[in-house]
Symmetry: none
Subunit: 211 residues, 4 copies
């Protein structure tokens, strides 16, 4: 047996916890089941996390948060046209997402809806991630307003909230329908709505661009 590798052990637990929680929800998640796949036992888990709740918190803080950053915030950085950036993100997610996630909903949204009203710790953490997401988009919208790719009369903050909400809602509907098709449909309308944020002269016939 190799020597103890605490960092890797912790990571393995977090990863397994993410999937277990994703599949059964936080309350339905079983520590025994989480540990089953890892080959670890309660002792290791209890050493790294003081409770199931804290494990759940860590999943939000460390795993889900990073995922959102990598998928929805950082990709926008290099692009001058923020709307173009968002459209690309949506298209990429719709295309690359495996079926299980496409039909299982956004992990962040799942946890938020299940736990926000039940546990304040979860609410604060998911709220924080959502706020980072929102402010990332709001910042891009401001940059777009500066370089003329976004209408100046748009409220960047409120609109960013709206966009995040719509994405979460769309993921929720796709989950309810257990179908990629609903996601694609909503995606196109979402993109069309995004197009409405451009200055009148700069709008693109996005629907056709896709076909």
């Amino acid at each position: 047996m190799v020597t103890k590798q605490p960092e890797q052990t912790r990571h393995k637990i977090l990863e397994a916890a993410l999937w277990e929680i994703y599949r059964h929800g936080f309350k339905g998640a079983s520590l025994d089941r989480i540990l089953e796949g890892t080959g670890l036992t309660k002792g290791a888990l209890y050493y790294h996390f003081p409770s199931k709740l804290e494990l759940g918190y860590a999943v939000v803080d460390e795993v889900i948060r990073r995922w959102i950053e990598e998928h929805w915030i950082e990709p926008l950085n290099g692009i001058d046209d923020p709307i173009e950036g968002l459209v690309r993100c949506v298209r990429r997610e719709l295309a690359e997402m495996p079926d299980e996630i496409a039909c299982g909903g956004c992990p962040l949204n799942n946890l938020t809806q299940e736990m926000a009203a039940v546990d304040e710790g979860f609410r604060l953490r998911t709220e924080k991630v959502l706020n980072e997401w929102q402010s990332g988009i709001a910042q891009q919208l401001r940059r777009g307003q500066a370089n003329g790719t976004v209408r100046p009369d748009v409220d960047p903050d409120a609109t960013a909230f709206y966009l995040v909400g719509s994405l979460q809602g769309a993921a929720g509907l796709a989950k309810a329908a257990r179908s990629r098709k609903v996601g694609y449909q909503i995606g196109e309308v979402f993109i069309a709505m995004l197009d409405g944020l451009r200055p009148a002269g700069a709008r693109v016939a996005l629907a056709e661009a896709h076909t």
Copy 2:
């Protein structure tokens, strides 16, 4: 003591179950706690419902479904301008909703996100309600296209999905933020987006219309 009143008993259980589920989620809901407030016992519950799961199903089918119909489908019937109707619905909900619900999220969305991936029975039932909601809106959009209040190039079905998703997502964000303010902000953007569905000449400065 009055004689047994099966229908009323069933109703009392459903009502209590709705609140318990709303507050603790379905998995977190306790049958004992549901019964506590009603003065009934397990016997009554299991006479009317074969299991906790079926009780949850009944809550969706009978309580939540009716609520959606009354609040989001029927109000649109008498109005010629469907977008105007939706705007009124949003404004009414934002205004009349008590704090607990405004910050606790949409009961339908809560249940959907918690259970859709876990239990197929819940998924089918919540999907059905969502579809009724969506097709109600789609039908109105078609009527609007017929009477010229909605742009003809809009896809009624996809757009209706998108709108339902956005509403659910907005409710989810408000829940995560535990704040009415986020709801109001998103509501205004939502209304602005709705305005984008009108033919170019018919758009209204809705923000001002609200003040």
Copy 3:
């Protein structure tokens, strides 16, 4: 199977709990072990007692308390000479007590010493039983002072406390020594000390009376 007998079930649990607690202490007591002998299951236990703690409380309130009353308070009632009554009690206990109890200590004392400093609920309940014991003896001492069998300069309350404490302490020593002999030795001294509570002229050579 006979019909449900809640009272008898509750009694069976209490009885089994008393023994389990007596043998392993309260913290060491296992609910599973308690139920093992009764043929009942967790459901029955949880129905009758909301928690292990409340079960322990009930053992003190209902079982131990009654035992003290029957063995140390009521026997004194019919006897005019309270010191004589106490001596008889001591002798009876020393003689009739089975080995397991003689060497296992007084159940009341065991629970008190283990739990009084840890849990206030236990402390209050054991204190109550001890106070009843003490006031039973104090009352007898007062009666003895009235009829001349007890010295008038004795403080009935303080002395009763002292006597109860000595008995508990003696039981504790016998338990530590796991020997009846220590109990007998202390018992004789205790009886001699009791004799010192009589008026000077009324003292008896108790040691000889015993042989």
Copy 4:
């Protein structure tokens, strides 16, 4: 960081263990909590003690035993009148004892009552300490009989057992009542009883001597 100091480390653990056991009982004592205050970890503990049980044994053998010697055996050595010596001990303890100990019971008695019936190792060790205590007193009583300060018809051994038991019992009652008052009350009676061990002519009105 200073170099390793094994003896001091061991001592720190023992001291911390004493308090933890005193407050939570042996079973309730947590190794993690013991180590928390010391800044040490499991590694240090298990280097010095092979198990929790052995740690408990060491607490009895080294800490509690020494405490009893210093407080109840050695103080009697320089005094010719053993009864006077015991009275002083009682008075000193009653006066100097901090509240936490006065109301938390005698550490020796606590451990004895909790563990004697459960674990033979504990029983043997606490019995040993109790025997040393008892034989210390018995020896003094014999000396008193030799110099005429103790009645010759007193059985030194049995009486010493009785006295130790009474003290332990008194501490137990004070713990159950969580009150110093009970301790004071019993203390006075105890002293009066001690006075009864003197030869008839040598008795003192101790109650008045105290005021």
